[in-house]
């Protein structure tokens, strides 16, 4: 039971949603799938007098739009797993969704967009969106605003979402690329310790490392991927300058294992 007074809003348009977010600024939260925010409200870690449910906005769809796939903010991990378009055009998103713990009972509620907006470093989502070169489409008082995923994640639990704004869509380019993914976790039910998504596009091999640092980190492996273990490990360790520590793992541990996680993602890419 949430112990404080709460008013539920289910707006039918983006404009109406922003109007509510502006009217109750400071006392309002956005409700995505609810899997993070509701337990936090239940424990009184987050208090708000108003909650804006995005379920009325038709944002639970995956569509092909020319050169990109458009993923609505309310698309759940389960929707990603069930989508033929995602399987064909954005297999890395499918891999990511399949690796989310908590069972289908969780994947049928939790959204990738919600995980992005939460900005927890220990999440699978931010690094995958950065690896794919996704664009985050926000709606706010000034209308639509588009932010590249690489600029969206500002700090731990801080994103580019501003006052009165919320995430509407994520646009993921349909690139003909090879991808590899690896996620290190403590046990079946644990959140990620370090993730690595490796994308080979033409001649370049880029790794995006998640959960090791406060925000996702990109590494160009093109020159060192064939020159052996030491070069990759050194490159990654030196690059994790702001390692992330939480209950799951110490930052120094994350920095130390990140190179190995990247190498496994490269191996995954090679094995196809």
């Amino acid at each position: 039971m949430i112990r404080t007074s709460l008013r539920y809003h289910r707006p039918a348009t983006p404009e109406e949603s922003t109007a509510i977010l502006v009217e109750y600024a400071g006392d309002v939260v956005v409700l995505g799938g609810g899997t993070m925010i509701l337990p936090m409200m239940h424990r009184a870690e987050v208090e708000a007098g108003h909650i804006v449910d995005l379920r009325g906005l038709g944002l639970a769809t995956v569509t092909e739009e020319g050169r990109y796939v458009r993923i609505g903010a309310m698309v759940t991990y389960g929707d990603l797993l069930d989508s033929d378009v995602v399987a064909r055009e954005a297999p890395l998103l499918r891999r990511m969704a399949g690796a989310i713990t908590g069972g289908n009972q969780l994947r049928n509620l939790a959204t990738a967009g919600g995980a992005a907006c939460y900005g927890n470093p220990s999440s699978d989502v931010p690094a995958v969106l950065v690896a794919l070169g996704a664009t985050m489409c926000l709606h706010g008082p000034a209308g639509e605003r588009r932010v590249p995923a690489a600029e969206f994640f500002v700090d731990a639990f801080r994103t580019a979402v501003g006052g009165g704004e919320f995430l509407m869509w994520m646009e993921v380019p349909r690139l003909v690329v090879e991808v590899g993914y690896h996620k290190l976790k403590l046990c079946e039910g644990s959140g990620p310790i370090v993730t690595a998504a490796v994308v080979r596009d033409g001649g370049r091999t880029i790794a995006t490392v998640g959960a090791a640092s406060v925000t996702p980190l990109r590494f160009d492996l093109t020159s060192c991927v064939d020159s052996g273990v030491d070069t990759v490990d050194e490159l990654i360790r030196d690059g994790v300058v702001n390692p992330w520590t939480d209950v799951l793992a110490d930052g120094r541990y994350r920095r130390d294992v990140a190179g190995a996680v990247v190498r496994r993602a490269v191996a995954d890419l090679r094995e196809g």
Partner: protein, 164 residues
């Protein structure tokens, strides 16, 4: 309920619960699990963690299994719910429940809503699951009694009986 005075925002929602259409008053701040248990008295749906970890609050909403502690009741307005009470659709055990019974797939039974709904969800998608598939499918649920071995065996038995 412990209403915070008459000012607490409230509304009436419509649900279909185990095949029965009904309406119920709710407060906006109420989680679906609390409405199911305290207002609809479907107390087979349990509460363990209120955090999405244990799975004992599992129900089916509009054909998809969910943890009902992670959704506001207001968000479920108009929804079609099956709780563990309606799992078999009648008074008899269904085949998955029967397999759990035959294989000693539970002791206290507290975890059964999550285990049974997850097992059914798996078998609908994958009629011949491997042990790894079964363990993956039930991984969103915590059982404090069995050590999981008999649960995995129960799901396996249910699958075998369906395909043989």
């Amino acid at each position: 309920m412990d209403p915070i005075g008459s000012a607490a925002p409230a509304r009436t929602i419509a649900l279909r619960v185990n095949g029965v259409e009904l309406t119920t008053p709710i407060e906006d701040r109420e989680l679906l699990v609390d409405v199911v248990r305290k207002r609809l008295r479907q107390t087979g749906t349990h509460v363990g963690c209120y955090n999405g970890d244990c799975g004992v609050c599992t129900i089916s909403l509009n054909g998809k299994i969910i943890k009902s502690c992670l959704i506001l009741a207001a968000s479920a307005d108009g929804g079609d719910i099956t709780t563990i009470e309606g799992f078999s659709g009648g008074e008899e055990l269904d085949d998955i429940q029967q397999a759990f019974w035959d294989e000693d797939g539970f002791q206290c039974g507290f975890c059964l809503p999550g285990m049974l709904f997850a097992a059914r969800d798996l078998l609908e998608r994958n009629p011949e699951p491997s042990e790894a598939d079964i363990r993956q499918a039930i991984s969103g649920n915590i059982c404090r009694c069995t050590g999981y071995v008999n649960i995995v065996r129960s799901v396996h038995t249910a699958a075998q009986r369906r395909t043989s």
